[in-house]
Amino acid sequence: MKVRFLARLALAALLVLGLAVAGDAYAKYPEKPINMVIAFTAGGSSDVQARIMQKYWNKYSDQQWVFVYKPGAGGAIGFGEIANARPDGYTIGGINIPHLVLQPMVQKAMFSIDSYAYICQVVNDPQAVVVRNDSKFTSVKDIFEFAKANPGKLKVGLVGPNSGHHLMFLDVKGKFDFPVTEVFYKGAADQNAALLGGEIDVMFGNLNDVMRSLEEMTVLGLAAEKRNAFLPDVTTLREQGFDVVSDIRRAYVAPKGIDKAQLDYLRETFKKICDDPEYIADMKKAGQPTEYMDGDAFAAYVRTQNDFARNMLQKAGLLK
């Protein structure tokens, strides 16, 4: 038994050696399946997005993705998992901004924004100001005027605390006179239910989440630089005179220290996927607003967001 095992081991070693000698190892990357870490539960919108990408990844690469779900603490567990994985090119994962910049600030997360090599951004999901269809508010201006006239009476729903929604709320409060009652919800589903049930009057919600209940809700404005193809008639907050831009971005990263050639391969392949018209059509069907940004530009964006978030939280006294 033992001799046979050793013989097999030797054979395997020979084979591996042969392969390594035969050609440039990096030319073959990836030569085995790649672990794709998803920091949220299976079936959530991060997972759905990654599954759509996977369909097109398989078109351009002969190695599969193996999905690894590491949910918990609003993504912080999974983000930490990617950061602390071996940078051998076989563990990559999805991250979200501003989650990634906020968590190291407020909960001593096991990563920082410098823990990653950024592959690219795939989704820009803008925040929207949303009311019920039967609401008396017909514009964002109405909301601000009512809030000012009735301090504390207007109830605004946010997902949070210490979330993208919360950041937008702090930004709005910093720039305008907005004396309202804020209520935090655990997730978009609870928040949508609270708006429809009348527990809150207004909510700041992500477009992707709002799209699910559009039959019952009206989007009054989008906190984006430009209008969105999903709702071309909805004006941006800037167009309505409120300079607020806030969104949640989805991106893919590898642990820092990954080989340059491997990172280039990943960046090229992701770019090919993002340019694929069928991929874009699939994403639209799933209600995910696509926006590609290359890795270097995105890394710079993460840095500006980091400063912005630190500034916001410090002003609000939420950072010690």
């Binding site: 590491k70 096991m110 009652t181 655990k186 609870d190 949508n192 239910a193 049930g197 699910r212 019952e216």
Partner: protein, 514 residues
């Protein structure tokens, strides 16, 4: 609606769909029965497979897995006193004593038929009353959910009427455990003792696997018995259960199914709360409540019909409003959205073919569950003829794998082991693991909803009391909670009155004389 139902039934007879229903049910029951593999995980694992199917077939399959898994949870609840899914905690209360008495067959058949009944009632509500019920579910906000949870917690008083102090202490321990992790209202980590993975909190499922199944293994090994329990199947068991269910249990079944549907509709609350509330109501309204917990059909029927009725209920807000009523419904919603199907009241007209085929498939799935469930139950009772040492090893292995699989975290494996010992020793000193589990399940919801009420109070004059009193539903729930707390005293009084019926009758005579 009617124009869709005919073709919908037609779709169900397509060979692929029949195959998916049978396979989904079988897989679901097995996943549900294995401690640690929950309905949510079973459905989530199969979502990618639906990408390769058309939307209707995919939904049919996910629905079948959901129904199967929620029923399957009762199998392990009855046979090894381990709820296979959190929804079957209350099934252990009477299912396990039945098994210990050698009548595991009665427990399993009752679970199966009650699950089928509950599932069908839930689906009837989904089919006919989806729109008004969805509107009703929206009335449940922070204050209503808070009081619903407190009402659920008050059942500890009834559950542990034997020793209320120990029951309350157990519940409080559960609540304390549930505060580990990030504070839902301020976002600050608590009780993590500098160990980062604890920021994600103590997950309910590993804690329950520990409290119920791991501690059960310790107990069984300590009992030196060769087998888990004697199994004395009786030939007429099926008929006996059917007679009991259509006879003395029919009101209980109906009440539990309605509670299940209503609780299922609420976004925060799911099967684990529905089954406990139903069990408790069944006990409260019974003529002989003290029989509960000794192995009565009524207890199993209440819990199992309620948790399967949750399925139809949880699909109501998911389909009509895009708001999932349970964790599993959230996964199914993800699958729907990936297919580009927008939920909304339109779903019954614009994509009526899909919606009604899905709803009709739930009826078919529930009927198919009877033969498949009976067959699997027969196989599962073989467990009782395997030597305990082997069963114990298998339970431990499954507990560890299952708990790790929930979020691929070693922390959860440690939670199972720690809570296993906690459950074992607290059982020894007479603490109630059921109450502890209730505290762990309800704690985060209570805290989160109370937080909402506190936030909302800023808009209602600064007092949380105002927020509570503004809501008629919350007031109703407060009254129910008070009644529930008074129940042990009422039961006591009832028992005393019955034990000496003459004493009550005499003063009456006296008063007529006077």
């Amino acid at each position: 609606m009617m124009e869709f139902i005919g073709p919908a039934i037609g779709h169900l007879f397509e060979p692929l769909n029949i195959l998916l229903m049978v396979a989904g049910l079988t897989g679901g029951i097995i996943v549900g029965a294995l401690p640690g593999l929950t309905a949510t995980m079973g459905v989530a694992l199969m979502v990618p497979a639906t990408f390769a199917m058309d939307a209707t077939s995919g939904l049919i399959m996910l629905g079948a897995i959901y129904a199967g898994a929620i029923y399957g949870g009762s199998n392990s609840a009855c046979l090894i006193c381990t709820p296979g899914t959190p929804s079957s905690v209350a099934t252990t209360f009477d299912g396990w004593p039945l098994c210990q008495a050698g009548r595991a067959d009665i427990g399993l058949i009752t679970s199966l038929l009650s699950s089928v009944f509950g599932g069908i009632v839930g689906t009837v509500f989904l089919l006919f009353l989806a729109a008004p019920l969805a509107r009703f579910a929206l009335q449940f906000g922070g204050p209503e959910n808070f009081w619903l949870c407190i009402f659920g917690l008050s059942t500890i008083a009834v559950m542990s009427s034997g020793n209320m102090v120990k029951g309350l202490l157990s519940g409080a321990m559960g609540l304390l455990v549930s505060t580990v992790g990030i504070d839902p209202n301020v976002g600050v980590p608590r009780f993590t003792f500098g160990y980062y993975p604890l920021v994600q909190g103590i997950e309910v499922i590993p804690a329950m696997i520990g409290l119920f199944s791991f501690s059960q293994v310790l107990y069984l090994i300590g009992s030196y018995k060769p087998f888990i329990a004697d199994y004395k199947p009786a030939p007429g068991a099926f008929g006996e259960v059917v007679r009991a269910l259509v006879g003395r249990c029919k009101v209980n079944l109906m009440r539990s199914s309605i509670i299940g549907t209503l609780v299922g509709m609420l976004p925060g609350a799911g099967g684990e709360i529905a089954s406990i509330i139903s069990y408790n109501e069944a006990k409260r309204w019974d003529k002989n409540p003290e029989r509960y917990g000794t192995g009565v059909i009524e207890g199993v029927a209440a819990s199992e019909s309620a948790n399967n009725a949750v399925i139809g209920g949880s699909l109501i807000p998911m389909l009509t409003l895009g708001i999932p009523g349970s964790a599993v419904a959230a996964v199914i919603l993800g699958a729907l959205l990936a297919k580009g199907i927008q939920p909304g009241f339109k779903v019954f007209t614009a994509t009526g073919d899909l919606a009604y085929t899905f709803i009709m498939s739930q009826f078919a799935v529930n009927l198919l569950m009877i033969p498949i469930g009976l067959l699997l139950a027969r196989i599962m009772t073989k467990l009782l003829s395997i030597r305990l040492t082997f069963v114990a090893i298998a339970i431990v292995v499954l507990s560890v794998i299952g708990s790790y699989a929930i979020r691929n975290s070693m922390l959860d494996v440690w939670i199972v082991i720690v809570f296993g010992f906690l459950g074992y020793f607290s059982g020894r000193v007479g603490l109630d693991t059921g109450a502890m589990a209730l505290g762990i399940i309800l704690g985060p919801m209570i805290e989160e909803n109370l937080g909402k009420c506190v936030h909302l109070s800023k808009a209602s004059g600064g007092s949380v009391i105002n927020v509570f009193l503004e809501s008629p539903i919350a007031i109703l729930l407060i009254v129910l909670t008070l009644l529930s707390l008074a129940t042990p005293f009422l039961l006591d009084w009832k028992r005393k009155r019955r034990d000496c019926g003459c004493d009550i009758a005499q003063p009456k005579e006296n008063s007529t004389h006077a």
